[in-house]
């Protein structure tokens, strides 16, 4: 038993090590990299991906996958912008409405997967097309956010110290991460997810509400994607139907690099948080370097992904023996 626990924590340990090593290397290589402002910017720049990855972690922990997240981000961001800018809604009810819609989208996805016993991969793929299509139907063009209350909210910054300011976006991200960690660790829903992903048959025999848990996981992912869509409008001051293309892949990569096993059952939100930070460090390093092309980021991420997957594979092999 003890051995099982250590084996499952190796990937997360490795993730933290890689993150620290990358951060140190970048800090030594670039001037002004190791400042609090750059760190806060990591959180702000990757909040959309980060929040999506939180939902994705729940789904993957349960043994599923959600490919529709990037499209939901786009759909929500453009809906939010249309509600506020074209329909004259106040941002608060608009935000609540799109959050509810995103959660409903996820719930429906989960219901279809559970009731018809279809592969999550396929159903969420349909969700990907549906979300992107609806977003484009709503508006082909990017919509600027000009609502005075919203923009004043977004330009409010907290001074952490003399040189460091922090906006609303990183705060939302950190709160969501903390909430998600609490849900995963200390609620029945969280434990049921781990049980379901670890071994579905055993979960059924233990009397765990498999259907509720599975639908719930996709609902959470829909909620997170919707929140990420709102955060996108805060971060970029616009709603855009073509944002979040291929974001589902980045999210899956962040989750895997964060030490969550794609077969489900093992992993956690904190690892994903570190995985997203690794994304941020690589991206910011590319920006600091200036001469390197941004597509090296993709290749770097894929390299890391390969490394972590092979490591996971070796650990799994040892566990099964």
């Amino acid at each position: 038993m003890n051995f099982g626990l250590t084996a499952s924590s190796i990937p997360r340990f490795a993730t933290v090590l890689v993150c620290l090593a990358l951060y140190l290397a970048a800090a030594l290589h670039f001037e002004n990299f190791a400042t609090l402002q750059v760190f806060v910017n990591f959180l702000a720049d990757n909040a959309v991906l980060g929040i999506v990855s939180v939902g994705m972690t729940f789904v993957i922990l349960s043994g599923g996958i959600d490919l529709s997240v990037g499209s939901v981000v786009a759909l929500v961001s453009v809906s939010m912008a249309v509600l506020i800018e074209h329909k004259g809604w106040h941002p608060l009810p608009a935000g609540l409405a799109v959050l509810a819609a995103g959660t409903l989208f996820g719930t429906l996805t989960g219901l279809i997967i559970h009731v018809f016993n279809l592969p999550p991969f396929l159903v969420t793929l349909a969700g990907l097309f549906m979300g992107r299509g609806l977003a484009l139907v709503i508006s082909l063009e990017s919509i600027q956010m000009t609502h005075p209350w919203y923009t004043s909210l977004l330009t409010t910054n907290i001074n952490l110290n003399a040189e460091t300011t922090m906006g609303l976006v990183p705060v939302i991200y950190v709160i969501i991460v903390i909430l998600a960690i609490l849900v995963a660790r200390y609620t029945a829903f969280g434990r049921n997810i781990y049980a379901l992903g670890g071994n579905e048959d055993a979960a059924v025999l233990m009397g765990i509400p498999v259907g509720k848990t599975r639908v719930g996981v996709y609902a959470v992912s829909g909620f997170c994607s919707a929140l990420a869509g709102i955060v996108y409008t805060m971060y970029s001051f616009s709603g855009n139907a073509s944002t979040g293309v291929a974001m589902e892949l980045d999210a899956i990569a962040a989750v895997v690099i964060g030490g969550t096993l794609l077969t489900g059952g093992i992993g956690g939100i904190f690892g994903t948080f570190i995985g997203v930070l690794i994304f941020g460090i690589i991206q910011t390093s590319m920006a600091f370097q200036g001469t390197l092309n941004s597509w090296w980021t993709k290749i770097g991420i894929a390299g890391l992904l390969l490394l972590f997957i092979i490591m996971q594979r070796l650990i799994e092999g040892r566990r099964n023996r």
């Binding site: 279809l118 592969p119 396929l122 159903v123 097309f129 299509g133 794609l262 597509w295 894929a302 594979r313």
Partner: protein
């Protein structure tokens, strides 16, 4: 049993064409100009070519119980490779071979990860999916690379037997793959691996070899699709070439009646699936509906077809029907 699911796709395709015959004026109009056929039907065949090619390779991979997410990125790599080879002064056939080789190598990488390291196919091919577009960008140095070569141009804009040449490419690929899998034991091997890799290994099948073959074929098919797509626009655009094509290819296979769980496959079904999806897109365009609706319609059709094929529905709706038929026969 095997053909039951193909029939759903075929019915959908026939229904769609029938609706068009009734409501879209000129949809079935074919025109002969300079010895070439033109019309919406020809257009469907031509535009469906890249997805059909990928769907053929994908069928074999899905038959083994796997999936290949990298085909869209491989399209970009192959187009970029061909364009780079041409810009370096190589001849058309050499550029084509190099492009196909890039697909073969990528397919073998995917296959090795699955066959030798035992990595889940979704994850193994995700790696090339994420990095492939980056690699293609590096090959073309981030810019769309244009080319002008008579040999390569034929793949996108040529004609053979009055039809676009891309149709011939698809036919050749279909015949080769069908001959390899249905005239030899290879097809049974693929299905056997899909049904149970362990049982296949214990009964002496070369499981890693079979997996390598499936992923390599998928890679080469994707590379061929990449050449056709690049030749069509006479340029390699690493950003947009084959974007979301992997999803279209997977959907074509699934709609065609090859279950994602593996174990059996139908090549003709995948071709019909790809044609159905292109027919939907062409219908939407021909009826003057906004392009954006394509994806919404596509998603709805996928869901409906999948739900019809799902075990839950089949047990509740179709099983009573067959039971009744059986009782009537008795």
């Amino acid at each position: 049993m095997k053909n039951q699911n193909v029939i759903w796709a075929l019915i959908a395709l026939v229904l769609l064409l029938a609706l068009n015959a009734a409501f879209t004026p000129g949809f079935f109009h074919l025109e002969m100009r300079d010895g070439h056929l033109y019309g919406s039907l020809v257009d469907i065949l031509d535009r469906a070519a890249p997805v059909t090619l990928m769907a053929l390779g994908m069928t074999l991979v899905i038959a083994t119980g796997g999936i290949d997410l990298s085909v869209g990125s491989l399209m970009a790599i192959s187009g970029a490779t061909a364009a780079l080879a041409l810009s370096m002064g190589y001849s058309g056939p050499v550029a084509l071979l190099l492009a196909l080789l890039s697909g073969l190598v990528a397919g073998l990488i995917n296959g090795s990860l699955v066959a030798f390291l035992g990595i889940q196919p979704i994850v193994a091919t995700l790696i090339l999916m994420v990095s492939g577009r980056g690699v293609a960008q590096l090959i073309t140095n981030g810019q769309p690379l244009t080319f002008n070569n008579k040999f390569i141009d034929v793949f996108g804009n040529g004609f053979f037997l009055t039809l676009p040449f891309s149709v011939t490419v698809v036919m050749i690929a279909l015949i080769i793959i069908a001959a390899l899998t249905r005239r030899t034991a290879l097809g049974l091997y693929l299905e056997s691996v899909g049904n149970g890799p362990l049982a296949s290994r214990l009964s002496g099948l070369p499981v890693p070899g079979v997996l390598l073959f499936a992923y390599a074929t998928s890679g080469v098919c994707a590379a061929l699709a990449g050449v056709v797509a690049a030749a069509d626009i006479k340029a390699a655009d690493s950003n947009t070439a084959g974007l979301y094509a992997e999803l279209d290819a997977i959907l074509a296979v699934v709609i065609g009646g090859t279950a994602l769980t593996g174990g059996r496959f139908t090549l003709i079904g995948s071709v019909i699936g790809a044609l159905l999806m292109q027919a939907m897109t062409t219908t939407i365009l021909a009826r003057g509906i906004q392009m954006q609706w394509t994806q919404v319609v596509k998603a709805s059709v996928i869901l409906i077809v999948c739900i019809l094929q799902s075990p839950a529905v089949r047990e509740k709706i179709l099983a009573p029907m067959t039971r009744r038929r059986r009782r009537a026969q008795q």
